[in-house]
């Protein structure tokens, strides 16, 4: 019997010929990461346990992105703990405000993740890096503390769910719509403890940015990881990482065998997937955007680790170009990294968005988790390109979040209510 790409990566990391779903393994970690919310707790546990040394200062990333630039005095104190730990242990990949970006956009962009890697992160959206054919999964602070000391992690080898997408996407339909639709099909625990393998001609046609978006939301179906097989797009993305970076010089390409074993294979007709919105208060409450017209909104958030890449901002700008955000709406842009800001400035995307009346933020997780930079009041409603719409996620427990693509979010910002680009009077249908 053959192996899935996930089993092959985990076998390599465990130093084994092969591993099978269900086995518990101890595997070598290529990169371990944490942020300003999860690292302070991990540092406290690391020190309390009496560890004095990290396993490799070059294979740990500390990314203070959640409440930075520091939102209040307590958050500043937490950031300070992370900074002091990074200095003491000479952590190579510590990023200060001004250089920091949203972790799951920043780290792959800097070439810190290579195909075949095993990445763990004290952040649930660590599953994002499956887009470069790596195995990556979220853990808690104590697991991260253990990995900092040990350089290993214990894992149960997950069964895989294979999603095969076929057909050409309709206008305005993106990777975000595909993943919201998919979570709608299987539910928020539809992939519990499992790896979600995204395949098929539609996925082959998706950009890397769209693949990152899909893998990013595997956790919203309960998935342990999301992964897309290596192809020419992956190769070309990796070759454009910084010279000498890990992604340029390391990595091993694995692919699922034809006779690999899957818990389930789902065939999805991607051509039939509409622009999709997930209603409050679960990412699985997916519905066609066109059926939600008329729901008035107060705020739009475009960006985050899910949709804060250049392609996402360009899609939003394509809708907002030469137009104005509805007078009753605050539209906030959260770019993923400083490089995304620079690129958006260079090609006019930033100017388009600012001229349309959007607020352009520095990279931060900010309002996605109700932290800062756009928290909602009681009774307020937002359309967001983020990843969660749980009760209170973006602010007051009496507020509401609708999850959508950058196209639908931008169109809704124009209309003042949930709208598709066609309804908002945008031009011809956009590219994927």
């Amino acid at each position: 019997m053959g192996s899935t790409i996930t089993e092959k990566i985990l076998a390599r990391a465990a130093g084994r010929e092969e591993v099978r779903a269900g086995e518990i393994i101890e595997a070598r970690v290529d990169l371990a990461l944490a942020n300003d919310v999860t690292a302070p707790l991990a540092i406290a546990e690391f020190e309390k346990a009496g560890f004095t040394q990290v396993f490799d200062p070059a294979r740990i990333a500390l990314v203070p992105d959640h409440f930075t630039p520091n939102k209040d005095i307590k958050a500043a104190g937490q950031s300070k703990k992370v900074r002091e730990f990074a200095r003491k242990h000479e952590i190579v990949n510590y990023f200060e405000v001004g250089r920091v970006g949203i972790e799951h956009v920043l780290l792959p962009d800097l070439g810190l993740v290579a195909p075949g890697d095993l990445v763990i992160g004290a952040d649930s959206h660590t599953c994002t890096y499956g887009a470069v054919a790596a195995f990556s999964t979220g853990v808690g602070s104590t697991d991260f503390a253990a990995a900092m000391a040990w350089g290993h992690v214990w894992l149960r080898v997950p069964e895989s769910l294979k999603f095969v997408y076929s057909g050409e996407l309709q206008p305005w339909v993106t990777g975000k719509d595909l993943i919201l639709h998919t979570i709608g099909l299987i539910g928020v625990d539809g992939a519990l403890y499992q790896a979600m393998e995204f395949a098929g001609e539609t996925i082959e046609g998706l950009s890397m940015d769209a693949r990152f978006t899909m893998c990013n939301m595997a956790i919203e179906a309960g998935g342990k990881s999301g992964i897309v097989g290596f192809d020419e797009k992956t190769a070309s993305y990796l070759q454009s990482r910084p010279e000498g970076s890990h992604a340029r010089v390391a990595g091993e390409v694995f692919a699922s065998d034809r006779d690999a074993s899957y818990a389930r294979v789902l065939e999805i007709d991607a051509a039939a997937v509409p622009a999709t919105v997930s209603r409050p208060h679960l990412p699985s409450n997916a519905a066609p955007a066109a059926e939600l017209g008329g729901i008035a909104i107060d705020q739009v958030v475009i960006g985050s680790c899910t949709n804060g890449r250049l392609e996402d901002l360009r899609q939003a700008a394509s809708i907002l170009r030469g137009k104005k955000v509805h007078p009753d709406v605050r539209c906030i842009i959260l770019p993923g990294t400083q490089q995304v800001c620079l690129d958006a400035a260079a090609d006019g995307t930033m100017q388009t968005l600012i001229e349309a009346g959007c607020a352009f933020s520095t990279p931060t997780c900010g309002p996605c988790l109700g932290g800062h930079m756009g928290v909602l009041a009681e009774g307020e409603r937002a359309v967001a390109t983020t990843n969660r719409n749980f009760v209170g996620r973006m602010g007051h427990p009496g507020s509401e979040v609708y999850l959508a693509s950058p196209y639908v979010a931008a169109a809704s910002a124009l209309a003042g209510h949930i709208a598709t680009p066609d309804e908002a009077g945008a031009g011809k249908g956009g590219a994927r």
Binding site: L41, D143, G370
Partner: protein, 167 residues
């Protein structure tokens, strides 16, 4: 170990954002986190909860964010154990790692009502609903997890591993 307490009952997909909202994650002090435990799903929880009480929920308890602050807040609020039909995987790891007793028992989770008295016997692997007079077998931990717990948790395990490797 045996825990007995009053049930606080919830449905499925209780996410870590409602267990401990992110607006309070600018600290990792357990007592401070406990003051906001379950705030966005059950605003009266912190006032009602008594030492030893038991949280009961349906499928996928602890879904969403990886914040270990969630089991930390539950434990610091005085809750002795959580009984659920299933757990999201990161929460499951985090509960083990922070010493919050968790039990998988779909039948007990289905039957229990808020206010029932529940008795959880971890060693025997049983859940007893004292109010309803019912007994259930809990799912045992996988052997690896039980071994980790018996060795005093993950960090103790890692310490002994590193010591034996002469690191």
């Amino acid at each position: 170990m045996i825990f007995e307490g009053t049930v606080h009952a919830y449905g499925r997909d209780v996410d870590t954002d409602v267990i401990i909202p992110a607006r309070y994650l600018n600290t990792n002090d357990p007592a401070e986190l406990a003051r906001h435990c379950m705030e966005d799903i059950d605003a009266g929880f912190v006032e009602r909860v008594r030492p030893g009480d038991i949280i009961v929920a349906r499928e996928n308890f602890g879904c969403g964010s990886s914040r270990e602050h969630a089991p930390v807040a539950i434990k610091a609020s005085g809750v002795s154990a959580v009984v659920a039909a299933s757990y999201a995987r990161i929460f499951y790891r985090n509960a083990i790692n922070t010493g919050l007793p968790i039990v998988v028992c779909p039948a007990a989770a289905r039957d229990a009502q808020a206010g029932d008295r529940l008795r959880v016997d971890l060693a025997a692997g049983t859940v007893e609903n004292v109010t309803q007079g019912k007994r259930y077998a809990a799912e045992p931990f996988p052997p690896f997890m039980q071994d980790l717990i018996d060795r005093g948790g993950l960090l103790e395990y890692v310490k002994s591993r590193l010591a034996s490797e002469g690191a």
